[in-house]
Amino acid sequence: MICLQNISKNFGKLPVLRNIQLEWRAGSSYGLIGPNGSGKTTLIKCILGLAIPDAGTIHVDGQVIKNQEVYRKKIGYMPQIGRYPDNMTIGQVINMMKAIRPDVTHVDEDLLRAFRLDAMANKRMRTLSGGTRQKVSAALAFLFSPPILILDEPTAGLDPIASEALKEKIAWAKENGKLVVITSHILSDLEELITDIVYLHEGYVRYQNRVATLMQDTGEMRLSRAIAHMLRAQQAAQPLPAA
């Protein structure tokens, strides 16, 4: 569904992504992990067309995305920090999103209800807390039932109830044949949600595998321990190239 070939991206002299090769399929759920500054957000921005890679091609649903915009109909994106026009209310933002996609007739408002956003539709975005903004971002990502969901740190600032509601929704999306990509530092959160893992470090894809295989290979019961185990093994086998 999403296919990245030889993607490289530099910010000035600093390489952020180096020759990334990835293929992500529908019905799977990918955990994109890595330390801060490893290129996760940049990778996502490249897929969304917000950042333009210096080299390589990206296909979404078989279509090259360069200078295209229609493919974004298929993507629901939840940014790490949702930023919205200050003067608009929650209701206006949601109506605006619906207005720019007049061809979509059925909208999925489950999350709007679960987060009780419909009850505060008249609140201005400026007055919202970080967590509430994140709820808006999450609700917008799922609003048009897109086949691809890209969620950047989805549960980082949410309260436990909202976090559970969102996780349920993600699990539902995965079950219903959608492609889900999640970045997170909270590995215990990812554990129940992902089928595959992609580990990014200093712009390289250092590791990618199915979670089940990773668990089996390392013999660990928990995802965080399995990843630590794998990283140690990998470090021993081939030290990181000098940056």
């Binding site: 910010f11 950042a51 109909k73 930023r83 026009p85």
Partner: protein
């Protein structure tokens, strides 16, 4: 595009600055007409506003607005909307708001009190200068990574075109005064939108006789229909060129 414009306008209408700017221009123009019965003198006073204040307000407001709309643009760009539409709707929104403010603030009173041909020239050059400086503002905004530097660059543009360029032009004319400079100064004037607007206005005000032989030459050139078409055409290029450059940069920019 029209759907997007609706939201850009909605945002701008909530901005009290545009309203204050309109009111300022309206009060100023009306008061000047109250003080002096001679429309020519009023237009001459207004000329300084048009040549200095209008470009300054246009370029600074547009630059700030671009960065204040950053979130909005980011939000739109992850939707199935082309970059061109996002960019142009911002430009059209800001440019038409500022142009309307000028049209209402200066245009209405000038028409009301009877400004004549000079009044029309004032309106035309004010509107064109507004659009030119909104274009330059967008260029400054896409050239720089943050708001502070963008405003700095925008002010630099303004200082250069409104103040420094004139000095340079004067220096060139003075230094090479032994040579026939008419054609060259014509080209040099075309390189600065503010000068172009000033010449259009001065010639409409019939004070070009004060400028001696050179003035007569410009009167002959700029006073004709051809001259008017030329200067309006060059001002249109001054709108299109920075806007096009800004769009090309925006199209490949990482947000």
């Amino acid at each position: 595009m029209s759907r997007l414009l609706k939201y850009v306008f909605y945002d701008l209408l909530r901005d009290r600055f545009i309203l204050a700017y309109t009111l300022f221009l309206w009060v100023l123009t009306s008061v000047l007409f109250q003080f002096d019965a001679d429309a020519g003198k009023v237009i001459l006073s207004l000329m300084n506003v048009v040549l200095l204040v209008v470009p300054l307000v246009s370029i600074v407001f547009s630059t700030i607005h671009y960065f204040n709309s950053y979130e909005f643009m980011e939000l739109m760009l992850v939707q199935p909307i082309p970059r061109k539409v996002v960019f142009l709707s911002q430009y059209v929104g800001v440019a038409s708001s500022l142009a309307t403010a000028f049209g209402v603030g200066v245009g209405l009173p000038v028409m009301l009190f009877g400004g004549g041909a000079a009044g029309v020239a004032l309106l035309l050059s004010g509107l064109l200068l507004t659009l030119v400086f909104v274009s330059l503002a967008f260029l400054a905004a896409v050239l720089t990574p943050d708001k502070a530097r963008a405003i700095g660059l925008a002010l630099l543009f303004w200082i250069y075109f409104a103040l420094i360029y004139d000095g340079l032009l004067l220096w060139v004319v003075y230094t090479f005064s032994d040579y026939p400079l008419e054609k060259i100064t014509l080209v040099l004037i075309a390189m600065n939108p503010v000068d172009l607007a000033r010449i259009i206005l001065l010639l409409q005000l019939d004070i070009s006789a004060l400028m001696g032989y050179t003035g007569a030459f410009y009167q002959q050139f700029f006073g004709s229909i051809l001259g008017l078409v030329f200067s309006a055409g060059v001002l249109l290029i001054w709108i299109a060129l920075p806007l096009f450059a800004a769009y090309r940069l925006f199209a490949v920019k990482d947000l």
